[in-house]
């Protein structure tokens, strides 16, 4: 056995493995830097821009502000924002009227039927501005950031296929499948829930 030979083989193998690993981690860092970091406080100008919902005259649907796309729709894709939305849902008492999402005094949010359309901006508008027949406006109670987080969450709850970022169950009583299992797909109703006729947009 030539000592030189043993040695070279000896160093080369672990080094190759190490280099390979470092390269992988390096690529990942580059990808990672592209990602939206978890933000605890949003920049005030961005928040102001996010508040600029462009709604149709009926107030039903509309387009999100430009900055929403520039941010790459964070409120629909970031697990952190979605789970914050989930907490806001209980903190601000949404469950008092909408229950675990299946409705109560207010309409169900996961039967697949949206009175004002399924877009996140419509949901954000409902939360911010309120709706006729009892939905209060939360404009003065929550920040814009929070309104969007909550809207993003409500959309996940009613989505038919679960996104990877969707939150999981709470440490509570188990009343329906958690958002990461697409409850709306399981609980979809062929007919809109029998709702008091005075609900929905004014005709």
């Amino acid at each position: 056995m030539m000592p030189g030979k043993v040695l070279r083989g000896g160093v080369a193998q672990p080094l190759a493995i190490a280099l390979f690993s470092v390269a992988l981690a390096g690529i990942a860092t580059l990808v990672g830097l592209e990602r939206q970091p978890r933000q605890y406080r949003i920049d005030p100008p961005v928040a102001a821009a996010l508040d600029d919902l462009r709604l149709m005259p009926t107030g039903i649907g509309g387009a999100p502000p430009e900055v929403y796309f520039a941010l790459d729709k964070p409120y629909e894709t970031s697990a952190y924002d979605l789970s914050q939305g989930k907490r806001l849902y209980s903190w601000f008492g949404c469950a008092n009227c909408h229950g675990d999402g299946r409705g109560g005094a207010g309409p169900s949010l996961l039967d697949g039927w949206w009175l004002y359309g399924p877009s996140t901006v419509a949901i954000a508008a409902s939360i911010r501005n309120g709706r006729p027949h009892g939905m209060p406006a939360f404009r003065s109670k929550m920040t814009t950031d929070q309104i969007w987080q909550l809207a993003g969450y409500v959309r996940t709850m009613g989505a038919y296929s679960a996104s990877l970022a969707a939150p999981s169950r709470n440490d509570d009583k188990h009343t329906r499948p958690a958002e990461n299992r697409a409850p709306a797909a399981i609980l979809f109703n062929e007919e809109p829930a029998p709702s008091p006729s005075e609900r929905g947009p004014p005709s």
């Binding site: 160093v11 990942a28 860092t29 939150p167 440490d171 188990h174 299992r181």
Partner: protein
């Protein structure tokens, strides 16, 4: 194949040394090239990979520690944001515990145990290869997620409900849980190999009372792994089930129990400390004996202390949970048992001191690290006895006092002996000596830097600074000490830098070592450095505890092993009487593919439960490849 069987097997009977060596290296060497390297099952090659990988993780974890120390150097620093800080302390802790400390100790066992018991390869060598790929991929999983800004942020013990479905959004905690699964899988594999190697493959004559202390410590460590790892396997799997498929193990509202997490975690977590410490104790025993130039004082008490530590290790876990509000009697019991473990630890310390006292110690670098270990570990042990008492612990729990305590036992109790062991066995592993001068510098800087960094943390803790905070206010009286600690950490880091420079330099151009540079007594020094693929030309016969010291004219050896296939001796558990000749598995690429398939399944399961179903198909395929009968005679005789 059929022809082969007819030809009488070629044994080492009467072959002369050079012919024998040629045959053996043909039979045992890995085939050259890339695929040969992936397929090798040589315990030495795999152990070397393991060690280098573990040290790379030590460096990465160390860089994170530096980042934390920069952030904490002055009040309200803006170097890291809170979210990053959370990821960093979690990744630092998890890397150090699961990807550095445990694997590096196992790696030393993989390298040393077969050599020290005088056999040609570890038991289940393919499983060994598999275990390496698994831990490598598990480590990559954690670090790639860190680079992606998606690393776990729930602390290295990931308490629920913080890590549970409600408070741990995203995939971060899932990545932590699956990283744990990878490391426990590989640790269990290695533990089984060690137990079987020690019990069944010892050289003839190495009865239980002649087993080197390092091997004893590795054996006890392996048993602890086998008994502790299932607990963490349960914990990580149930956590991920709770998070991904809505089971309710840790949900009190549905009859689950959040405290259950702490019990199962620490039922593993406390013994883990001994998984790290016992191998270190074995290293210390070896180094002390060699450099005191005499057999170890108190072999039997030391073995008993190892075993007692291994058993007691399972009766202490609740001391991590003193402040959650447990029944008084429980707290008293675990206080008592935590203090009791100081008894076997004390026995070990006294045996080592006695050996030094009675011998003629030569203060080389390995021995210096051992002395550093004794000092540091005793301090860590003393603060351990302090936090074992409930009223004291209630004061300092989750403060920097605890951070200081566990770094004293982990760095003092494991890293110091490990660095000593690297200086000691480096010549065996590479055939070259490390530098004595640089070694002394490395030791001095690390010892000084370590104490200057971590001792003041005790005081910070008593002053109330909590652990896991990303910053503190200028009004609090902590700024001065924190700056001092951060500066001292630079001394510590410079010591490590010198160590790594020394290791790399010596690996390429160190002084050639020869087979036995320290005139040591155990069997690994009876073969060339680095050892050939087959370890020993002829399997030695052991007649004493330090076989190389008791005989001057060379070891007695066995004969009759076949050389045209991989063959080793199976011996009896107690007296190591030779029982059979057993074939040892050949190289195979399948463990590598099996590890890839397993990893795909485990990582995929973070994203969809269906990965478990579909992922089991490639695993089955690779396992079939792995165990496919080759039609060669595998019988024993």
């Amino acid at each position: 194949m059929i022809e082969d069987r007819k030809r009488p097997p070629l044994t080492d009977d009467g072959l002369d040394d050079s012919v024998l060596e040629r045959h053996l290296s043909q039979t045992w060497s890995a085939s050259p090239g890339f695929w040969g390297a992936l397929a090798t099952v040589d315990h030495k090659v795999i152990a070397r990979r393991y060690i280098v990988t573990a040290f790379v993780f030590l460096i990465l974890g160390g860089l994170l520690a530096v980042a934390m120390r920069i952030q904490l150097a002055w009040p309200e620093a803006r170097f890291l944001d809170p979210d990053r800080y959370n990821q960093i302390f979690t990744t630092h802790g998890s890397t150090m515990m699961f990807l550095f400390a445990v694997p590096v100790m196992e790696a030393m066992a993989i390298y040393l145990v077969p050599l020290m018991v005088g056999t040609r390869n570890i038991a289940f060598p393919r499983l060994n290869a598999f275990s390496y790929w698994i831990i490598l991929i598990g480590g990559l999983l954690l670090w790639i997620s860190f680079a992606l800004d998606a690393a776990p942020d729930v602390g290295w013990f990931a308490y629920v409900p913080l890590s549970g479905p409600e408070y741990g959004p995203g995939k971060r905690a899932d990545i932590w849980a699956q990283m744990i699964t990878f490391t426990e899988l590989s640790a269990l594999a290695v533990a089984v190999e060690i137990v079987v190697t020690v019990f069944k493959q010892r050289a003839p004559g190495m009865s239980l009372d002649r087993i080197p202390l390092l091997v004893w410590s590795m054996l006890v460590m392996a048993f602890i792994v086998i008994m502790a790892m299932p607990a963490i396997m349960f914990a990580s799997s149930t956590l991920i089930l709770d998070r991904l498929v809505e089971t309710q193990f840790y949900n009190p509202a549905e009859g689950g129990d959040a405290l259950l997490w702490q019990h199962v975690f620490w039922f593993f977590g406390h013994p883990e400390v001994y998984i790290i410490f016992l191998p270190a104790a074995g290293m210390v025993s070896t180094i002390v004996a060699t450099f005191s130039r005499r057999p170890i004082f108190g072999y039997l008490p030391l073995v008993m202390a190892f075993i007692a530590t291994g058993i007691l290790a399972f009766g202490l876990w609740v001391h991590h949970m003193f402040v959650v509000g447990l029944p008084r009697l429980g707290e008293s019991f675990f206080t008592a048992s935590s203090m009791a473990i100081a008894v076997p630890a004390g026995i070990q310390i006294f045996c080592w001191l006695a050996t030094l006292w009675l011998g003629r110690p030569v203060f080389t670098t390995p021995l210096l690290f051992v002395i550093g270990f004794i000092v540091t570990f005793v301090i860590g042990g003393l603060t351990g006895v302090m936090v074992a008492s409930v009223p004291f612990d209630a004061q300092v729990h989750d403060t920097y006092f605890v951070v200081a305590h566990f770094h004293y036992v982990l760095v003092g109790g494991a890293v110091f002996p490990l660095l000593g062991a690297i200086y000691y066995w480096f010549p065996k592993m590479t055939g070259r000596m490390m530098s004595e001068t640089l070694g002394r510098w490395a030791f001095g800087l690390i010892f000084l830097g370590f104490n200057l960094t971590f001792f003041p943390m005790h005081i910070l803790g008593l002053q109330g600074m909590p652990r896991r905070v990303y910053t503190y206010q200028p009004e609090l009286p902590w700024a001065g000490l924190n700056l001092f600690i951060s500066l001292s950490a630079l001394v510590l880091v410079s010591g490590f830098v010198i160590f790594f420079i020394d290791a790399l330099r010596s690996w390429r151009s160190g002084k050639p070592a020869g087979p036995d540079p320290w005139s040591a007594g155990t069997l690994e020094w009876a073969t060339a450095s680095p050892p050939p693929a087959y370890n020993f030309r002829r399997i030695p016969v052991v007649e004493a505890r330090e076989p190389l010291w008791s005989r001057s004219e060379g070891l007695a050896v066995t004969k009759g092993l076949q050389v045209d296939r991989r063959e080793l001796i199976v011996s009896s558990v107690v007296e190591a009487l030779p029982e059979a000749r057993e074939s040892s598995p050949r190289d195979s690429i399948w463990p590598f593919w099996a590890a890839i398939a397993t990893s795909l399944m485990l990582i995929g399961s973070i994203f969809t439960p269906w990965a478990v179903v579909w992922g089991s198909i490639p695993i089955a395929v690779t396992l079939i490849g792995w165990f496919w009968p080759k039609g060669t005679v595998e019988d024993t005789s």
